[in-house]
Subunit: 232 residues, 2 copies
DNA sequence: CGCCGATTTGATCGTGGTCAACAATAGTGG
DNA sequence: CCACTATTGTTGACCACGATCAAATCGGCG
């Protein structure tokens, strides 16, 4: 018996590639770690010492310039993998956005284990390819879209992301009412615009009757077609 | 004997993970394809039908909006891998920037072969992780850097990229004189700015004595320190 | 209720986009 | 080899979007 047996992401994280006896071995080299919102897990530029699976909570991956400008280059959710296996250094920081629990491994241990388990590497490869696809699509948004298009795209993306993460309810129809898991500042850091610009675009969408914003964090999409047309 | 035996990227492409007998098998499912500058190889949104290794030449990966704005999300060089294994669709286009030769595989054949050769998948995983790192770093540039910083960063990056690609000459000291393999339009598409902005920044750098621009394609870095300071 | 951080709103400014003209270079055929 | 054209790059004038700075307002929590 290992704590993996009761792990809520056992069948969604890369661990799904492993059978029970393999999991047993993996569990001996990993350990749980609890993070509070805002806690850093990995620093940009540091030696790559650990990798992890997210059990619950959300974390951000960021790159920064020396003068303090920050860009969120990725957001990870439960069952996602964090860290840079097979490499000496990590080039982005990882910080908890919410309280979170992760399952961490020393990178050297994980590298060795992965080398012996092709099915695990295969799963990791698939995930990395998917992440690369998502990241590349995001580049188009960052480089070419207007603030209006950025915010519209972001809201639509959240609507599907949150639907997929919802345990109950239909997964085939869009989710029109949800709570944003991000502050305005974080949304700005994701979209590459300032907090004021995010705010202005949101209120404009509300004024035009496309959205309702019952309170700071919640969003209700009233006219999805219009929003999609805006997303560019 | 297979044509792989004389392949110039045999020991640099992911094929390096395979021994001679394995290469023999791989060569039976691949074929050479010659592209002229401008030729498309894969279309954004299409079914993912093929993957390939670059033998020589350069190709661009692009994402576009419906109204025609284009962003280069990656550039691939000889020995790099192209395409989206283990996935149904590709979400970016691949187009030759120069005349090029590639070694293509039907995706289904490649997937099957890779599944049987963990060492190949391991190599591919390493490459994909490196590419993801590079891509994420580029996001910071696209989202947060000024035109000046973008152009300075680009020139410095080209200087190291081209040094690494140079067969002869020292690989430890920077390359200060080189020919850009891109048009102004392509540089703009990489940096997420217009062709006019690229041009203006370049002439400004020349006016300030940081660069010399003997002709359209060539660049000579006169003051690397200043350029690095500008890159942010 | 009063405080503090988050968000909204307003006013102003600067960077880089757009449109247009011009220059330089490469390519083509007499 | 030189006109002629097409393509690529440069420069200028102007403007819009989004950044910046500043103030007002909201909302959660002691």
């Amino acid at each position: 018996m290992s704590y993996c047996d009761t792990c809520v992401v056992r069948n969604r994280a890369i661990c799904q590639a492993l059978d029970d006896s393999e999991i047993q071995v993996l569990s001996t080299i990993g350990r749980r770690k609890v993070l509070s919102a805002g806690d850093p897990l990995i620093w940009e530029g540091d030696d790559s010492l650990l990798v992890a699976n997210v059990i619950d909570g959300m974390l951000k991956l960021t790159n920064s310039t020396e003068d303090g400008r920050e860009q969120i280059v990725g957001v990870v959710y439960p069952a996602d993998f964090i860290g840079r296996p097979f490499g000496k250094t990590t080039n982005h920081s990882v910080t908890a956005l919410t309280d979170a629990r992760v399952c961490v491994f020393a990178r050297s241990d994980f590298d060795r284990f992965a080398g012996d388990h092709p099915k695990l590497e295969h799963k990791l490869l698939q995930r990395t390819l998917e992440e690369l696809d998502r990241t590349r699509s995001w580049m188009l948004l960052l480089a070419r879209k207007s603030a209006e298009e950025k915010v519209a795209t972001f809201l639509l993306e959240m609507s599907t992301r949150l639907r997929d993460a919802t345990c109950s309810g239909p997964h085939d129809e869009p989710l029109d009412e949800f709570d944003l898991p991000f502050s305005r500042q974080q949304i700005g850091d994701i979209l590459g615009v300032t907090i004021e610009t995010v705010s202005r675009q949101m209120t404009r969408l509300k004024r035009e009757g496309i959205l309702d914003l019952p309170n700071r964090r919640s969003v209700k999409i009233l006219d999805r077609d219009a929003l999609e047309a805006m997303a560019g």
